[in-house]
């Protein structure tokens, strides 16, 4: 549905997007993740035709956005970072304007009413946009993107400024729309991407550093995940006891957490599974273990680790992929994960 081939965009001498390629199939819900200034919005602006690009090729539904911009734009509903609203208009009036602007063919009043119901703004349809709260404005912008029922929805941080209840509503709406729309979504709220998207593209410094499902990314990184144990014991003794275990590379105390109980961070050597050994050792020493968990990698940690990796090559190294064999590595990892599903996940997922 969306094809981006070796896309580059320069602002003056600043390279905002650097040779980015990806393709999104019909019906996919893809999340763009990246720190501020990574180039997410720029890529979105390019796909929607707001910005041009320096090099590369972008097509939507097989239509080149440069050769036939109008046809391409007709297929896209776009909600930019700041919803583009004429604040001097009323909500309904604004949506009617968008309807006329997009030259939509559906019956006007029912179509707009349906959209207003969908994003829950029908109760403010006759209010001036400038008097609406940020959350309502955001939803009016969303409604604008939905006018004409375009196949592709591009949503730049759609839940910014909404309250938790509205966030859940919009998230559910995106999930529902995802069934028959192709959606690209960017967000700073990582749990949102985890909840809504089937696929995550992590962008840093204008380059794609990861392109996979959220679960796969989590698994790829979990091999060096440490364990956290809470044990009722003497702090120093336990460190030396645990350090003596074969396969444990380091033990650090995280301090006293409960009465007489300390948390320890246990880092295994490489991809060794030391959970049983640790548990038995504690049992042997006659101490009580209160809790024991693997420090599961959340998307948040992946994100931080990848974007703080220094350069993008280092980030790719963490994921065990090189720039060229991105796709093949992904597939290999996927098969391995399916095989080891349900088993210890911090094992051999380095593709």
């Amino acid at each position: 549905m969306i094809e981006v081939k070796s896309l580059s965009k320069k602002y003056g001498s600043y390279l905002a997007v650097d040779d980015v390629s990806f393709s999104i199939e019909k019906g996919e819900v893809v999340g763009f993740l990246g720190p501020n200034g990574a180039g997410k919005s720029t890529i979105m602006n390019i796909i929607t035709g707001y910005l041009s690009f320096t090099k590369g090729n972008v097509s939507v539904d097989g239509i080149d956005v440069i050769d036939n911009p109008e046809a391409a734009k007709k297929r896209i509903g776009y909600l930019p970072e700041i919803p583009p609203l004429y604040t001097d208009m009323k909500v309904k009036e604004y949506l009617y304007f968008i309807y006329d602007l997009k030259k939509v063919k559906f019956p006007k009043a029912p179509h707009i009413n349906e959209i207003m119901r969908l994003v829950k703004i029908d109760n403010v349809s006759n209010r001036l946009i400038k008097n609406l709260s940020k959350g309502y404005r955001q939803r009016v912008g969303f409604a604008g993107a939905l006018v004409g029922n375009p196949d592709v929805l591009i949503l730049d941080e759609p839940t910014v400024g909404l309250d938790p209840k509205q966030i859940i509503e919009i998230r559910n709406l995106i999930s529902r729309l995802g069934k028959n729309h192709t959606i690209i979504l960017s967000s700073h709220i990582l749990s949102e991407i985890q909840a809504v998207c089937e696929r995550v593209i992590i962008i840093n410094k204008g380059q794609i550093i990861a392109d996979d499902t959220p679960d796969n990314l989590a698994r790829k990184l979990s091999y060096d995940t440490s364990l956290v144990a809470r044990i009722v014991c003497d702090e120093k003794d336990m460190i030396s006891t645990l350090s003596g275990i074969d396969g444990v590379s380091s033990v650090t105390s995280l301090g006293k957490k409960e009465n007489g109980a300390y948390d320890f961070n246990i880092v295994p050597e490489g991809d060794k599974d030391v959970r049983a050994a640790v548990f038995n050792k504690v049992k042997e020493s006659g101490k009580t273990m209160l809790s024991f968990s693997s420090d599961a990698v959340s998307l948040e940690q992946i994100f931080l680790r990848l974007t703080e990796a220094g350069d993008n090559e280092a980030a790719r190294k963490i994921l065990g992929i090189s720039k060229d064999d991105n796709n093949s590595a992904d597939t290999a990892a996927q098969t391995q994960i399916e095989e080891s599903e349900g088993e210890n996940s911090d094992s051999d997922i380095q593709a």
Binding site: N45, T48, G49, Y50, K74, P84, D88, F97, D100
Partner: protein, 233 residues
Amino acid sequence: MTAIFKREFKAYFRTPIGYIVLAAYFMFLGIYFSLIYSYGSPDLSSLLLAMSVVVTFTVPIITMKLMSEDRRQKVDQVLLTSPVKLSGIVLGKFFAALCVYAIGFSPAVIFEIIVASYVSVNVLSFIYSLFGMILLGAALISIGMLISSLTESPVISAILTLVVNILVLYMSSFSSMVKISWLSAIIEKAAFISAVESFGKNVFSIPDIVYFLSITAAFLFLCVRSLEKRRWA
């Protein structure tokens, strides 16, 4: 284009701008008309030409927000990502502004009808002058639009447009200061006021029509280019 035209036209009357501009036109037309009436002159084309001063000061108000406001409020994103041509956006806004401007002259038509019902008047001369004023408006609005598209601030846009308006309309006044004779002649001829005055002389002046239309077309084209250029920034 029609969607943008409708929106922009209505937008003038959502803010005081449309009312203020129309009030100014109606007031000055009324004052000039009462003056001409008291002199007993049946020729209203001079009434229209006298409006050029008012036009100089009001066109910047009409055009100041036309392009700049969209950019400031980031609404240009919805226009530029909609299946509309850039020329459609520019023309829609241009005609909305021109419409407000033209409505400003509507009392003159009523005055002419009143006068014509009492004495015989040269209707053709009036029509030429009205046509000339509309063309002048079109040219000035297109210039104002380009300036508005170059800035995000309506105030800067208004001030710059005013300066440019005074220059292009009345540069003939400065022509005597220019010592190079051919340049001075060009300035004399190129001043918009010279073209406007020729419309008042009861002649259908084709060169002046072409002059105004080509100025309008050129600046509208530049306005489209300025929108396009922003995409490449």
